[in-house]
């Protein structure tokens, strides 16, 4: 299992930061070559803002017009404010059944 590197708990801006775990699935997992990573982000970051940060880090994410985002195993509003230790899942439209 691949994981992101650990770094200081203080973000570049010097303000308070938190860590969240990001899990990737299906085609996104294949393309990024990792199934999860730890990400440091400013306290109060929303789900949609985190996804923008992830797209800035992983340019390949721009290939997906539509992704689904979940927090701690539940679909959440993009305005949802994340908390320390939250598990965010990023995945393409589903195809079970």
């Amino acid at each position: 299992m691949l994981s992101g590197k650990r770094s200081s708990p203080v973000s570049r801006s010097g303000s308070e930061s938190m860590r969240v775990k990001v899990r990737y699935f299906a085609s996104i997992r294949d393309r990024l070559g990792m199934d999860q990573e730890e990400v440091e982000t400013p306290t109060g970051t929303t789900l949609s803002a985190l996804y923008e940060e992830l797209k800035a880090t992983h340019k390949d994410l721009h290939e997906w017009n539509r992704v689904l985002l979940a927090v701690n195993g539940e679909y959440m509003d993009p305005d949802q404010i994340l908390g320390e230790g939250d598990v965010v899942a990023v995945f393409p439209p589903v195809s079970g059944g």
Binding site: R23, F25, A26, S27, R29, D30, R66, L68, A70, G73, E74, Y75, A89, F91, P92, P93, V94, S95, G96, G97
Partner: protein
């Protein structure tokens, strides 16, 4: 009854598990691996699942279907891992007093699974491996 498993399942066992004297209909849907897709031959498929979330979503869909259609019981079994052509992928069984609500609930469960449960298929073909994403087929692995 919600099961997410690598193993194959027995349709009879699932039906016997939910059978009760209130039921006059056991409506069953079994999804299996089709040997072609989008003009390509499919050799096998691989199913990936976000297991914790999928189980919770399936349970929520089961409860919603039972309430909305007033059926007695809903069982959902979904497999993951590598599956050969014609193998079982998943099964929905609805135990209902009468057939109309049984059929309606079964279709409702299937459509909800297809839109919201975090499970994905990858088709292994002679032309390469392709992920299925919603209605779209074709992102190369």
């Amino acid at each position: 009854m919600i099961v997410v498993t690598k193993e194959d399942f027995s349709v009879d066992e699932v039906l016997n598990d939910i059978r009760s004297k209130e039921m006059g209909a056991l409506v069953t849907f079994v999804g299996v691996v089709r040997g072609h897709s989008e003009g390509r031959a499919v050799e096998e498929i691989e199913i990936q699942v976000y297991e914790e979330m999928a189980k919770a979503q399936l349970e929520a869909i089961r409860r919603e279907a039972m309430e909305r259609y007033n059926v007695e019981e809903v069982a959902i079994v979904h497999r993951y891992g590598s599956l050969n052509v014609s193998e079982n992928i998943m099964m929905i069984a609805v135990g209902a007093g009468h057939r109309p609500e049984g059929f309606d609930a079964c279709r409702f469960v299937l459509e909800r699974i297809k839109e919201s449960v975090p499970i994905w298929k990858k088709e292994i073909t002679p032309e390469g491996d392709f992920w299925v994403e919603g209605e779209e087929h074709g992102r190369k692995s």
